[in-house]
Structure formats: C-alpha cells, structure tokens
Amino acid sequence: MDAILTEVIAKYNYWIYVVLMMIGFYAMIGKNNLVKKLLGMNIFQTAIILMFISSGVKKGGLIPVLDKQAALEHGVNSALINNPVPHVLMLTAIVVSVSVTGVALALMQRIHRRYGTLEENEILEKMDR
C-alpha cells in the first residue's frame, strides 16, 4: 500500500496525460463524424506535448531564460535550470499539429462537396455504390 502511494505521488502527472491521450484515442476511432475524429487527433497531440514538457522539469528549477550578466560572471549550474530540449521539440510538434489540422479541414471541404455528407458510414456506402 505504501509502495503504491509512493508510486502515485511520484508519477501522477504521466497518468493524467495517459487519461487525456485515451480520451483523444477513443474520439479518433469511436466516433463517426470526420470533424470529431480530427478533434480527437488534436486532443491526442496536446496530451503528447504536455507529457514531453512535464518530463523535463527539475525540482526547484528556474526557467531556461538565463540572466546574461550572472551567467558571464559566475557560470550556470545546470541542475537548477529546467531542460530546454523538450520545449524546442514541442515547438516543432505544435507547428506540425497546426499544419495537419489545416490540410485535414481542406480535404474535408472537398469530401463534403463531393459526397454531401461528413459521416463516415454514409461516405463508405456512397463510395461502394
């Protein structure tokens, strides 16, 4: 019981992000409307981004923007400053998320123009006919 409690307190942030990921995953595969699937994908991407950012935090850490005078004089102690590498990778992930959303919405407009509906089962029926 004590071990489980220690584990929960040490890692509860990853569990919250796993729950958010599974909400987005269920929306992607369980819903019929194409716009709802796209929103599920956005929720999934947001959960991944938050998980990476939270994995680079250090206890008692300051933000990665240093003070130039103090850094030139004393030097920096890298155990007190949060890790900047996940922030950089997640900037790329956010831009990719925006690009994929834009292209998906454009394709959905063409699908709606061609088939008249955005429900997945109706589109599959019209395609098979």
């Binding site: 923007v65 130039k68 831009v95 919405l105």
Partner: protein, 159 residues
C-alpha cells in the same frame, strides 16, 4: 447558392459599430506586440513562431470582425505568397551563404568574413535573421490558411 433570408436566424448581421471601433483600435497594437515578440526572442520567451502567429492572428481578426475583402485589401494574395516564399528563402539562403563563405551549412560564425564582429556575435545575429525569416513565413501562412478555409476556396465571402 442564393439563400432566402426570410427566417431571422438566416439574416447576416452586417457592420456593427461596437465591434468595428474596438477592432480598429486593437489591430495595430496586436501587430506591434507580434513584432515585439519576434524581435525579443533572445532575451525573453518568444521568437519566430510565437510572434508570427500573433501577427497572423491580427489579419484573421480583421477578416472576422469586418469582411474577408477588407482583410484582402490590407494584405493582398500576391504579397502573401511573396512573403511566405521570402521567409523560407531567407532561412535557406542564410545557410547557403554560410556554406559559400567557408564554414558548414548554417554555421553562422563563417559570416565573420563579411563584416568583422566576432564569431560569437555573429551566431546571435544569425539566429536573429533566421527567426525573422520564420516569422515572415508563419504569419503569411496563418492568414492564407484562414482565408482559404473560411471561404471554401473562392475568397469571396468569409465567415
């Protein structure tokens, strides 16, 4: 498709005095703030992507509050395409210039041969030029995505 405006929920809202006045005051400050975030990427959180999105959002605000044609009047399609291409060209061009001057690709300290400031200072200046290119590309693509998606391609009548 010609719509029949007999039902009250179908009629378009038309120009509104409150929204028009508030947005007309707000847009220059949003653009100034976007340029500030791009320029202060070295000393505070910010940089090319963040400031570019704020700058592009000012054109989206103009398209939502007024008409789509108003936003196109201030930022034409030709200028949009030129700005996006020149943003990518600025980034890749800086890398090729560094390679031509003797260093590696995107090694900014090689530009010391052009204007002697010191290799460490040129790395800071090189990152600033590159962030400017990224900001130009992102702002024009944000506006172009909104125009195309909200009007269905013909750029006549937006949301």
């Amino acid at each position: 498709m010609k719509k029949d405006y007999s039902l009250p929920q179908d009629r378009p809202i038309g120009p509104s005095l409150i929204i028009g006045t508030a947005v007309r005051v707000m847009i220059p400050f949003v653009q100034l703030f976007g340029l500030y975030v791009i320029a202060h990427g070295h000393y505070s959180p910010g940089g090319g992507f963040q400031g570019g999105v704020a700058l592009g959002a000012s054109f989206i605000l103009m398209a939502i509050a007024f008409d789509l044609k108003t936003s196109l009047r201030f930022f034409s399609i030709r200028a949009n395409a030129l700005m996006a291409s020149s943003g990518v060209f600025l980034y890749t061009g800086t890398g090729v210039l560094c390679a031509l001057l003797g260093g590696l690709f995107l090694d900014y300290s090689a530009m010391d041969a052009l204007l002697a400031l010191g290799p460490v200072e040129w790395r800071s200046m090189g990152v600033f030029i590159v962030e400017l290119g990224v900001g130009l590309a992102v702002t024009s693509i944000m506006a172009s995505l909104f125009w195309d998606l909200s009007s269905g391609g013909d750029l006549e009548k937006g949301l």
